[in-house]
C-alpha cells in the first residue's frame, strides 16, 4: 500500500468516526467545532432610526436634539450557554469601538466554541484592569480610539461614550451645542459598567453555524433614562462627579436584543 493510499484510508476512517459520534448525541451536543458570533449594534433613538445631522428627536424632558456624534466602547464579551457555562472572549481582543459616523456597527467574535448560547454579557467602556496593564494592554485600541475621537487625552485614557450634537428646550431657544463625554475619572471614579442580555432565541454556534445577535441600541436612554439629565441645566458634561455616573448607568441600559439570526455563513 502506498503512503498516499494509507492516508486516504485514514481520512475515511476519521470521517466515519466523527459521523458516528455525533449521530449518537442529542441536538445540543451535535454542535461541534467553532465559528464566529457576530453582534450587530443597531443605533436608534426611542424607536426611530438614528440619523446624524438630520433628524430631530424630542425626549420626555421636552428637549429637542440633533445628534452629530454617537460613539461608544464595548468590551469584555462573555457568552453564557444553556448549562450556565461561561465562555470569556480573550481579554486582549475584547475591546471594540462602535461609531455611527465611522460606520463601525459590528463586533465579530471569532473562534467561538460550538454551543447553545442563551445570554451575552459585556461592558460599556474600559475597566480599570485594562488601564493598569499599561502599554502592554492597550494594543491598537489606543490608536483606534484616537481616530474615532474616543481618546480622552488629558486623562491618558478613553471616552466610553461620546454623544454630541445640538439642542433646544423651552428655556434654551437658540440651538446650543451639547457634548456628553463619559469615562472613568482617573483613579477617583470608575464609570465602567457591565450588563447581561438574555437572548430571545438561543444563538447556535458550530462549525457550520455562525449566528448574528442583533441589538437595538437606544441613544435616548443617555439623557432620558432612569435618571433624567437636562441639557438645559448643563450642556457639556465631561467629568462631573454626580452626572457622569448617572449617564454611565443610563447608557448601560440602552442595549436590548432585538432578534437572533441562526444559520450558516450568515451575512447580515
Amino acid at each position: 500500500m502506498t503512503t498516499l493510499k494509507r492516508f486516504q484510508y485514514l481520512i475515511l476512517a476519521t470521517g466515519l468516526t466523527l459521523t458516528s459520534c455525533s449521530s449518537d448525541d442529542d441536538a445540543t451536543q451535535n454542535l461541534t467545532g467553532e465559528n464566529n458570533l457576530t453582534i450587530e449594534f443597531d443605533n436608534s433613538v426611542n424607536g426611530d432610526d438614528l440619523l446624524l445631522d438630520s433628524s430631530t428627536y424630542t425626549n420626555s424632558n421636552s428637549e429637542v436634539l440633533t445628534i452629530n456624534r454617537f460613539n461608544y466602547i464595548v468590551s469584555n464579551f462573555v457568552l453564557i450557554d444553556t448549562e450556565g457555562n461561561e465562555f470569556t472572549y480573550p481579554k486582549d481582543d475584547s475591546y471594540f469601538i462602535i461609531s455611527e459616523e465611522a460606520d463601525l456597527s459590528e463586533v465579530t467574535l471569532t473562534n467561538i466554541p460550538a454551543g447553545d448560547y442563551v445570554a451575552v454579557r459585556f461592558g460599556l467602556g474600559v475597566d480599570q484592569e485594562k488601564y493598569l496593564q499599561g502599554a502592554e494592554g492597550q494594543g491598537d485600541l489606543l490608536q483606534l480610539a484616537e481616530e474615532t475621537d474616543m481618546m480622552w487625552s488629558w486623562l491618558a485614557g478613553y471616552k466610553f461614550l461620546n454623544f454630541e450634537g445640538s439642542f433646544t428646550s423651552p428655556t434654551v431657544t437658540e440651538a446650543t451645542d451639547f457634548k456628553i463625554h463619559m469615562g472613568s475619572h482617573g483613579s477617583s471614579l470608575d464609570n465602567y459598567k457591565e450588563l447581561t442580555l438574555e437572548l430571545p432565541t438561543n444563538a447556535l454556534v458550530s462549525s457550520n453555524l455562525s449566528p448574528i445577535v442583533h441589538l437595538a441600541v437606544d441613544a435616548n436612554q443617555i439623557l432620558d433614562g432612569n435618571t433624567k439629565i437636562l441639557l438645559s441645566e448643563k450642556a457639556v458634561v465631561m467629568v462631573d462627579e454626580v452626572k457622569s455616573p448617572q449617564i454611565a448607568t443610563n447608557a448601560a441600559a440602552m442595549f436590548r436584543v432585538d432578534h437572533v439570526h441562526n444559520g450558516e455563513n450568515l451575512e447580515h
Partner: protein
C-alpha cells in the same frame, strides 16, 4: 568540474554575504541585556511593575532617543527634554509655565522627572495612574506637543533608524504604541535619584555628614513638613489644596479636572522635594522664584477656602508657623536633597 568550482565559489561568496549581515544582526541583538534596577535602601516599595516591562539596554537607549526627539511633537521641535532638562532635575528652568509648539504656553509648571517608578499618580492632577500611559497627556496637549499618537507612530515607522532600534529592543520588534510607551517607561524607570547628601546621611554612608544647621533643618522638616512630604520620596502622592490664592486670570481647578468633584477644587499632587533647590520656579503654576518665597508663603500667605487642607488650618492659624531661624535651617536642609550624581548622570544626558 569547472562548473562545480563556480558554484562552490559563488556559494562561498553568498555565505560570506549572509554571514556578514547575519553576524551584524546577531551582534546587535546579543548586545541587548537586562538592566539592573536597584531599589535604594531608604525608598518605599516600587509601584511600577517591571516584570511586565523589564528595562533592557536597547529599550532604555530607545526610550532616551524618543525622550529627546522633537518628532514626538507636531512641529518636530518640542521633545520631552525641551521642558524637562536634566540639569534642573528634568524641569523647565526659568519657565513658569510649560512652553509648547508655536510658542504656546500651558498653565502649569513642568514637574521633575525622577523616581517615576515609585509613584502611582502622574501629572499635577493625577490624570493617569500608569506611567506607561502618561506620555499621552503632553504629546496630545494642544499647547504642549500638539500631536496625535497615531501620527507619532507613522513618523517613527517611516524612519529606518527607529525600525532598527525597535527591532533590537523588543521581541516582536514592531514600531507600535505598546513598544513606544514601553521604551519611554524604561528610560524613566531608570531615572532614579537617590544619592543626595541626605540619602547618604540616612544610609550612614560617607559624604553624609550633616552640618548643625542641616540637622536642625531636618528636625523642623520632620515636625512641620513631613506629614505631606512623606517618606524619602518626599511626597505622599495625595492631592491637596495648600492655600495658594488662585492665579489671576487662570482658574485652574486642579484635581477637579480629573475627578469632577467640587471637593477637589484647587487640589494638586504633593510634589517630591528631591532636587528641589534646582527646580525653581515653584508650585503648580511656578509663581515662586525661590525657596525663601515658598517658606514665606507657608508661614504667612496661605489663603482659606472650603477645600484648604485641614493640616494648614490648625489651632486657629492658617499655614505653618516658621520663624526666620527655622526657615534658614529648612533651606539648608532642602539643599541636602540635591543629587548632583543624578543631575550629571551621563546615562540620561541628551548629548
Amino acid at each position: 568540474m569547472k562548473y562545480s568550482i563556480k558554484i562552490a565559489l559563488s556559494m562561498v561568496v553568498l555565505s560570506l554575504i549572509f554571514a556578514c549581515s547575519k553576524s551584524d544582526d546577531t551582534d546587535y541583538f546579543a548586545l541587548d541585556e537586562n538592566l539592573e534596577v536597584s531599589i535604594p535602601a531608604n525608598f518605599p516599595e516600587m509601584q511600577y511593575d517591571i516584570s511586565r516591562n523589564p528595562p533592557t539596554k536597547n529599550g532604555f537607549e530607545l526610550g532616551k532617543k524618543l525622550f529627546y526627539d522633537g518628532k514626538l511633537s507636531s512641529n518636530g521641535f518640542i521633545s520631552c527634554g525641551f521642558c524637562h532638562e536634566q540639569r534642573f532635575a528634568f524641569t523647565h528652568h526659568g519657565h513658569q509655565f510649560s512652553h509648547g509648539i508655536d510658542d504656546l504656553e500651558g498653565i502649569r509648571n513642568a514637574p521633575a522627572v525622577q523616581n517615576m517608578a515609585f509613584q502611582s499618580q502622574f501629572s499635577w492632577d493625577g490624570g493617569t495612574s500608569h506611567l506607561d500611559l502618561f506620555p499621552i497627556i503632553p504629546i496630545t496637549n494642544e499647547v504642549e506637543m500638539g500631536e496625535t499618537i497615531s501620527n507619532v507612530l507613522k513618523k517613527l515607522q517611516a524612519d529606518s533608524e527607529y525600525q532598527r532600534l525597535f527591532a533590537s529592543a523588543f521581541e516582536d520588534g514592531s514600531v507600535n504604541n505598546e513598544n513606544f510607551f514601553k521604551a519611554l517607561s524604561q528610560f524613566m524607570v531608570m531615572m532614579i535619584s537617590s544619592n543626595s547628601k541626605y540619602d547618604k546621611y540616612v544610609r550612614n554612608e560617607p559624604g553624609g555628614e550633616f552640618l548643625e544647621l542641616e540637622e536642625e533643618g531636618l528636625r523642623v522638616f520632620e515636625a512641620k513638613c513631613a506629614s505631606c512630604h512623606k517618606t524619602d520620596l518626599f511626597t505622599d502622592s495625595a492631592f491637596r489644596n495648600n492655600g495658594l490664592p488662585p492665579y489671576p486670570g487662570i482658574n485652574d481647578l486642579g484635581r477637579t479636572e480629573v475627578s469632577g468633584s467640587t471637593t477637589d477644587h484647587y487640589k494638586f499632587k504633593v510634589p517630591s522635594l528631591r532636587n528641589v533647590a534646582v527646580t525653581a520656579p515653584y508650585m503648580h503654576d511656578g509663581r515662586f522664584g525661590s525657596l525663601a518665597s515658598v517658606l514665606n508663603f507657608y508661614n504667612s500667605g496661605v489663603q482659606d477656602s472650603e477645600t484648604l487642607d485641614p493640616i494648614l488650618k490648625q489651632n486657629g492659624r492658617l499655614g505653618i508657623a516658621l520663624s526666620t531661624k527655622e526657615q534658614e535651617a529648612l533651606i539648608a536642609f532642602l539643599q541636602t536633597l540635591t543629587d548632583s550624581e543624578f543631575l550629571n548622570d551621563e546615562r540620561f544626558a541628551e548629548y
